[in-house]
């Protein structure tokens, strides 16, 4: 693809115009609106010197391809590339094909900041799909705000942030936590909770919200223990004994990374059978992606609270899953964050088309209220606070590594990154 574009650049204006017309024509076959690049002169849709030409627009992809986070971020990169390819197949954005420049954050936060600067200052990308951990997002945030970049961030995270330069396509903490706790309380009659997590900001903030909700908003429920273990901790026998002693109805686990695998293997080896009535294991940190490392047989019966599961049976999702597998291989699994990453390019496309411009300020202005009916998770909508309205779902892990959806909220849950009464 990049070849014939450089071809175009070396040729005369007339040929470029013909070609652009040609692409727009084929595109218009697919698209009812028939957006043609010629209708949107570059000088008008790009007044701030972004990397937009008459037939292409360049965006950045900034994730870790190497280092410890590569395991999690690979899926996001794959989803973003799939979305870009599909958008291009439909004729691109404002008649322009999306090209991307991919940079490797290498699981190192200063590297993320440096690469973000490179993408914004040198490459002048129109937007960036990227980051995964909160630490990497916090590292690039000043860069995006200084150079007025626009970031689509895919991961569910702890909230407490609302930047004009970021669209958060994952859930903030309250969207992921509250509905799940209410569900386990109402349908399973759970009263006592044991909170457990890896020791950093996301599990701690999430558990803080969970504790406030359990103690203040759920009748007769209480927290019987709260524990944190260093990232990379691999020995959970002591805490498992503590859990036995306290006999909680629910083990609420937010363990991440390699620790996750150790935790579930040892839980199973200790004879805690999650396929039975009690204790219920409810997690917000294990997607289908993580189950591959844990092993389905080790987590069989656990519940996870997410907004997306690969097993969702709606038309959007069936199409998404088969397109994803066609592009990246049949053995791929798709987790919550991967789906959220897939939304990024589509939301940006919708915002650009609504604004009729690639200018960051205009895209930002156009973003709130953007709706996406084609999202694999169903219908989503961008809130004033740059987060997404989306449903919360509970799935039960199966031995084959997939989740069976057992509950979903009736309505979209409003994002609330600064929840009152939970601080």
């Amino acid at each position: 693809m990049s070849d014939d574009i450089s071809d175009n650049k070396t040729n005369g204006v007339s040929r470029r115009a013909v070609l652009a017309g040609g692409t727009a024509l084929t595109a218009s076959l697919f698209m009812p609106k028939g957006l043609r690049a010629a209708d949107f002169p570059t000088a008008e849709v790009n007044t701030t010197g972004l990397a937009v030409t008459d037939d292409t627009v360049t965006i950045g992809i900034l994730h870790s391809i190497t280092g410890t986070m590569a395991i999690s971020e690979t899926g996001s990169v794959q989803a973003e590339k799939l979305a870009i390819e599909q958008i291009n197949a439909q004729g691109g954005i404002l008649g322009r094909k999306i090209e991307y420049i991919q940079e490797d954050g290498a699981s190192d936060w200063p590297t993320f900041a440096e690469k973000a600067r490179k993408l914004l200052v040198n490459d002048k990308v129109a937007s960036v799909m990227g980051c995964w951990t909160s630490a990497s997002r916090k590292a690039v945030l000043p860069v995006f705000e200084q150079h007025n970049g626009f970031l689509y961030y895919p991961t569910f995270y702890e909230g407490l942030e609302e930047s004009p330069n970021v669209i958060y396509t994952g859930q903030e903490a309250t969207q992921q936590i509250i509905a799940g706790l209410d569900w386990v309380n109402q349908t399973k009659g759970a009263k006592t909770f044991y909170l457990l997590g890896s020791d950093y900001i996301w599990p701690r903030t999430s558990n803080k919200i969970a504790r406030k909700h359990i103690e203040n908003f759920m009748d007769g429920c209480k927290v019987v223990g709260e524990e944190y273990y260093p990232l990379g901790h691999t020995q959970f026998n002591s805490v498992i004994n503590k859990i036995r002693l306290r006999k909680p109805d629910v083990i609420y686990a937010i363990v991440v990374g390699g620790s996750n695998v150790a935790f579930y293997k040892q839980l199973k080896a200790a004879g805690i059978d999650m396929t039975k009535e009690k204790p219920i294991l409810l997690t917000i940190s294990v997607t289908e992606d993580e189950i591959r490392g844990i092993g389905g047989e080790n987590i069989d019966g656990a519940y996870a609270c997410m907004k997306y599961f690969q097993s969702l049976e709606n038309e959007n999702n069936l199409a998404f899953v088969s397109a994803f597998k066609e592009m990246w291989g049949d053995d791929m699994v798709i987790g919550d964050v991967t789906q959220a990453a897939y939304l990024g390019p589509w939301l940006w496309k919708a915002a650009v088309e609504k604004a009729g411009s690639f200018d960051v300020d205009k895209v930002r202005e156009a973003s709130p209220g953007i709706e996406l009916t084609s999202a694999p998770e169903g219908y989503v909508k961008v809130h004033e606070n740059h987060h997404l309205w989306s449903k919360t779902r509970v799935g039960r892990a199966q031995a084959d590594g997939q989740y069976e959806v057992v509950f979903e909220t009736a309505d979209l849950v409003e994002p609330d990154p600064f929840p009152e009464g939970y601080q």
Partner: protein, 308 residues
Amino acid sequence: MFADYSMAELGAIFAMQGFAGLILFSVFVLMALGLAIIFGQMGVINMAHGEFMILGAYVTYLMSNLFADYMPALFSIYFFVAMILAFIASGLLGLFVEWAMIRHLYKRPLDTLLATWGLSLILQQTYRSVFGAREVGVSIPDWMMGSLPLTDLIEVPINGIFVMVLAVGISLAVYIMMFRSRWGKQVRAINQNRVMAGAVGINTEWTDRLTFGIGCGVAGVAGSAFTMIGSTGPTAGQLYIVDTFLVVVFGGAGSLLGTIASAFSISQAQSIMEFFLSGSMAKVLTLLVVVGILMIRPQGLFSLKLRK
């Protein structure tokens, strides 16, 4: 905190907690033995120790797939085959690394730290390229998962027992090799005085290579066993390296008995504190105590008596 529980429950919890400590002890011993041989006997700071362990884990992963696909009838015993192959694979890689890299650095022991750290990065990226960045799931035979109910309240994880038996077995094997075999005698001689050992006719080059290889092989077996309790991914080796060095340095480099004593004290301290405090706090306190003791006794718990 114990007021709500009956005596029977408390007894059961203490029994299981004691057992958790013993399992942690076995894990530490398995992790540290290979390094104790390499660091203790040869003075090589092997930062790639974790990656040698993970090589063993990946061998186990390959074997589990191979047996599941071609010899499902024998799946329940594949683990033993995998451990032997893990020893061979990590050992061979160890021999090669010693020949290609380590032997040029014996006169500059601190440089081994940088060189082996570089090696660990190379190995990590190799695993990532070959097996993918995602963690792989190793299926374990059913009989090794699950727990053994001793009484109504006490349940003992079977993989914990397996790790304990393995730790004892390997410790014995290393002890016999070190103190009852010709090779062990040569290793100790070289450790005491390399020039003199060479002068009396010991092939120091070959002995070094074999020592490094055996140390790496033991790491491979440990990695293979850890597929039961931990994750198998390109960077999983990093999870173990700090604890491993902690155990070996605290025990006193050069003393295998020290390594075992140190593994025991650190694991017991940690597992008891984890029970009463939070996990992070237990780790902090353990490290503080270890640092404190090392300040008073820099040579570690046990040290060889040398004339200085």
